[in-house]
């Protein structure tokens, strides 16, 4: 399998410079894997619906690199032109069909609002540790 030809455009570099160092490291790893075609399952290249020939690969849970797929006489060129925040709300939409969740909502006198405990597959999970994230990390290893 031929490696991908990946071109870094000025806009990508500018966006890269504004990222935290740990995300920058992830970007470098992701680009290396993308060009090597060595981790497409975790990079999850996907065409962005509603955008003109824009594709994305996964850098981390909240970051994506965006590219356009172009062609020349030698074949495909992947023009990386942006990297930035991208929460995957589709994962949240799909969550209910993939896992069994029960929630306990308590409302006490003098207590404003509700406290919510989410139980995922028999284990309590904090609201910041979605099962989708756990599954993704496992796949990446």
């Amino acid at each position: 399998m031929q490696p991908r030809r990946v071109e870094i455009l000025p806009s990508f570099e500018e966006a890269y410079q504004s990222l935290p160092p740990d995300i920058q490291e992830r970007v470098q790893d992701a680009l290396a894997h993308f060009s090597d075609r060595s981790a497409d399952n975790s990079l999850r290249p996907e065409l962005k619906n509603g955008f003109d020939n824009v594709w994305s690969i996964r850098i981390s849970k909240g970051y994506r690199a965006f590219y356009k797929k172009l062609r020349d006489s030698e074949g495909a060129i992947y023009g990386m032109f942006h990297v930035g925040h991208h929460d995957d709300y589709r994962a949240l939409k799909k969550l209910s069909s993939k896992v069994s969740i029960s929630a306990h909502i308590q409302s006490g006198a003098g207590q404003r609002g509700h406290s919510i405990q989410v139980v995922v597959k028999g284990r309590a999970a904090s609201k910041n540790s979605l099962p989708q994230e756990k599954q993704t990390r496992k796949r990446e290893r």
Partner: protein, 175 residues
């Protein structure tokens, strides 16, 4: 100006229902009496929220189209995108505890079904803000590439020659 036409400082339309009260009542009832029929006020409020999200999508679409057609200042576009990112983070923070809750698959009726529809609508709301920001960021990227031109680096050349990038923090990368 009616409530529906009001804009927040971020340029987004104001919400027309008290969402937190609505979410608490719907998600609370979905746990206590999951299969009971939702009461009409809750159904009406949920409908108003869905209408609000549709209005938000239209407003954002209109505003983004206006920017793409009229604005060529990349710094101004960056500020608008930043406003949208802040709006998205703020809404996500407010909605997170409801987004984390859903009913087991195949058992959705009554309150549970209404809660599920609202959860989908919350995701649609967040997606609309995110995609609008993304459109601005991608448009800004096009402007930068037009103005600065060329390719910064090529990672892999077909034929086996590989160039590994080492990005620096202060534009001191080398291929």
């Amino acid at each position: 100006m009616s409530d529906k036409d009001k804009k927040s400082s971020s340029g987004l339309p104001s919400q027309v229902v008290k969402l937190d009260e609505l979410f608490q009542s719907v998600f609370g009832a979905a746990q206590l009496t999951p299969n009971a029929e939702p009461n009409p006020p809750a159904v009406a409020a949920a409908g108003a929220y869905m209408q609000y999200v549709q209005q938000l999508i239209q407003r954002l679409g209109h505003d983004v189209q206006h920017v793409l057609a009229q604005v060529r200042d990349e710094q101004a576009i960056a500020r608008m995108a930043s406003d949208l990112l802040n709006a998205e983070n703020s809404r996500k923070s407010a909605l997170q505890r409801y987004l984390d809750v859903s009913a087991p698959p195949g058992e959705q009726a009554g309150w549970t079904a209404l809660a599920s529809r609202m959860r989908q609508t919350m995701c649609t709301e967040l997606e609309a803000i995110r995609d609008s920001r993304l459109r601005l960021e991608l448009f800004r990227a096009e402007l930068i590439n037009q103005q600065r031109g060329g390719i910064t680096a090529r990672i892999v050349l077909r034929g086996g020659t590989q160039i590994r990038l080492h990005f620096g923090r202060k534009h001191d990368h080398a291929a």
